[in-house]
Symmetry: C2
């Protein structure tokens, strides 16, 4: 969609040097003159690239001395490794745990590290409201009924256009507009399974995927995910070869909760595997627009030659939270998915569809997205730095190149569910590891949300978490940790 | 909600005389002076009552001679009887048939007798758009996320208030806002059943109920419905006594497709039965607001002492089609239903909820409803009169006291599915009987929608249907009926 400018490409190169540790924290980045000469770009391009990197929170200017890598731009904590492989299917029973975590987020005074959403302050709600007004004035009464079945025609056109601009050619008829991506995922899974079937999912996985499996009485075959490179190809292949797997549900980019992304080569390999075994893919790609680099990641759907892959997207995480408008490009399953939708909810809200269609037509979505990505990346840097200051040194943490989640692996003695309860008593929410696992694994892990503007309250909350962690890591058996730490952080 | 005025009570009395045939078509209604003396009401009250009856299409003024019963005010066609009783459970497989009917409604030029919705022109879409604008300006960013789980607080208050005004006291916590009533019905059924369970439903029944049963692999126990008095109490009791029924899904008022309503006594009896056998009720009450009389019908939920009844309502048929906002007062199952919603669609659109809440707070809903009811009643009278003019004399038809459906029982030789195809070739849709039955019964019946303003096109469409019916009734075996009748009606 967004054609890469030269200064953006150059900024990406420098960011990669920082990420991989070639440029270290507090190290001076090449001077403008030096960089211009070395990389063969104009001084203006270097200036613009450095300005962009400063905006992303990776470097900072020091008066009269040039640009330096920020202290927290590079990861001071280690990256976690991959989980154990398990070649068997598991009945799922995680819902109650998830609901207790979700329930903890209702209080607006709780520090929302456990939230699944970025801050609604990051979205153009005013502009959307104007689009709503304009589109409702234009909407003819018959549209209100007609748009219920196929979905708003303008919206479907706009979504198809965005696919086309990103290189994926698909027929508009493949698109089904849904009540958020969550409904799309539910319907896709129902379209290709019956109760008792085996479904390959990631470990750890988005908890809603586990809940859907539980509700539909499907069995999970957990495939380990590497925190940086994504799903384990070898285990996936073994599982497909040895078990009668009926569907595969995965996130190719900024996987929830790990933030892992498949490389282009791995993506192509996964796509080839699924096609070889003729296993339908349900691709949850709700963070697709939240990449920090200058190029969007390529979904597996891109490699779909046979209509076997269902690609689920949403505006909830990138534009319009609460509007509940998502979609699926469902390939050969489009009619089945559409029929299931007619039977269960009939249609997403017509005004919400029309408002988003108008917003997309007016333009400005890509500008909003660029700003949003920079904010999320800067907030990630702030949370990483804060974790390095406060958490035990043996803590491991991911550093995804998109989205708004960090995944922490704490010292083994830490019980994430206990930590969840202790933190909540201090007005801080978090998403404990076990809710992301059919087998209740990841007991010493947690997902923290950095989708909210960073401030003193966030910093203080990290300090409290740090104290709780230090205490738990040293005396994991005592139950009186609550009394030992700072008072609560929530206002 | 609406306290009955004296002239409205008097108008209802006269309407009942017309309905029961005490006053016949073209008969003069009592003069104002006579009525005033006989019934002990003021002349002004009589005047207002007659004006109201004229508005409802039941009587008309003739110059210098007073008011007369309109020709089509009373039913010239017979009422149908009750279907056969079947004390066994049936696997459901009706979906494909339903989708072919639904698909026929997409063309805006088709005469929409087969539609499930009233004309969107009957709704205050402009006023709703203004409420949308106002509520979006008021909405705080955090609300966008908070309103997703519990639902918009103002909306829940307004719905609870309307229950309270109608005499049903319920806790706001019992209310779950859903994507239309259809999602509510789906979730309720899931909350109390597992695949393979038996569910008591009506015969004929709303086709979506059959589709949900099919999708959830539940078995239908069909209880016959009398076209005027509703579900057969004796068969229901026998079924509950002899079969392990896990839930009962029914419509107590203006049942779809028959339009039947339970009397207060029958309603109380059904409620007592379900409570005796401890069978949860899923009460589909989406036409509750569309009553023609002066008093709202009383839902079975009114008699619920144990939180056993789930009462599903919606704004889709009475205020805001396409907004997809419904709800359920789910009694003791509220938490379970709410959790199922979080797992499948998360939430209905927050702006749509806020707009309806604002509209309800502004007032004017009851005024709109009174106007809507009069329109629907007048359109019913027009369709009944037209059917009497054009359809075979042996056709039977219901005359519901609310809603916007008529149920026709044609001569036995008529194949409703063939009629559906023939009519569609002439640009006319209808809902053939078999889509309302798990056992593909009602082969010579159809449901016709009178929810659209009556005009020359409607009249012509009825004439074409009449010709098709006369032809089918006389030579039911020939297949060349299409050529024999008028050209198509659709614009």
């Amino acid at each position: 969609m967004h054609k890469l400018k030269r200064y953006e490409r150059f900024a990406d190169d420098i960011a990669e040097l920082i990420r991989t540790g070639v440029l270290l924290p507090n190290q001076r980045v090449p001077s403008v003159r030096h960089a211009s000469r070395t990389y063969g770009v104009s001084p203006a391009t270097v200036f613009k690239a450095y300005y962009l990197l400063e905006d992303r929170g990776l470097i900072q200017a020091r008066e009269r001395s040039g640009y330096y890598v920020r202290e927290h731009a590079q990861r001071p904590l280690q990256q976690p490794g991959i989980g154990p492989r398990q070649l068997h299917a598991t009945e799922v029973g995680v819902s109650e745990l998830v609901f207790s975590v979700l329930g903890s987020l209702k209080d607006p005074h709780t520090v929302p590290f456990g939230s699944a959403f970025p801050s609604p302050d990051l979205f153009p709600l005013g502009r959307l409201a104007r689009s709503m007004g304009q589109s409702l004035r234009r909407l003819k009464p018959f549209d209100v009924i007609a748009d219920m079945t196929a979905g708003n025609a303008d919206l479907r056109r706009q979504i198809a256009l965005r696919y086309r601009l990103s290189g994926a050619l698909l027929a508009q008829e493949e698109l089904v507009i849904t009540n958020g991506a969550l409904e799309a995922l539910n319907l896709c899974l129902q379209a290709v399974t019956v109760p008792g079937d085996l479904v390959a999912i990631e470990a750890p996985a988005f908890y809603a995927a586990l809940q859907v499996l539980e509700r539909l009485k499907l069995k999970a075959v957990e495939i380990p995910v590497h925190p940086r490179t994504g799903i384990d190809l070898q285990v996936l292949e073994d599982s497909l070869a040895r078990l009668p797997i009926k569907a595969c549900w995965l996130m190719s980019s900024f996987q929830n909760p790990l933030g892992a992304s498949l490389s282009a080569a791995s993506g192509q390999a996964v796509a080839a595997l699924l096609q070889r075994y003729q296993v339908p893919l349900i691709e949850d790609d709700v963070y697709a627009e939240l990449y920090y680099g200058s190029q969007p990641p390529r979904p597996l759907k891109y490699y779909d030659q046979q209509g076997l892959f269902m690609h689920c997207g949403s505006f909830s995480k990138s534009l319009a939270p609460g509007y509940r408008v998502g979609w699926v490009a469902a390939g050969r399953f489009a009619e089945k998915v559409s029929q299931l939708k007619l039977m269960t909810t009939l249609s997403p809200s017509v005004p919400a569809q029309a408002a988003i269609a108008d917003y997309l037509q007016q333009g400005g979505y890509d500008r909003h997205l660029r700003k949003l990505r920079h904010q999320l990346q800067a907030q990630q840097a702030a949370m990483l730095a804060s974790a390095a200051r406060h958490f035990p040194a043996s803590t491991k943490v991911t550093q995804p190149q998109g989205g708004y989640f960090l995944w922490f692996e704490f010292p083994e003695q830490v019980d994430a569910l206990k930590l969840f309860r202790l933190a909540l008593a201090h007005g801080i929410s978090l998403a404990p590891g076990p809710i992301f696992s059919a087998t209740r694994g990841f007991g010493h892990c947690a997902r923290l949300n950095h989708g909210h503007p960073w401030g003193a309250q966030s910093e203080q909350a990290m300090a409290v978490l740090g104290q709780l962690l230090q205490h738990e890591a040293s005396v994991a058996t005592t139950e009186d940790a609550v009394a030992d730490v700072q008072p609560s952080v929530g206002a």
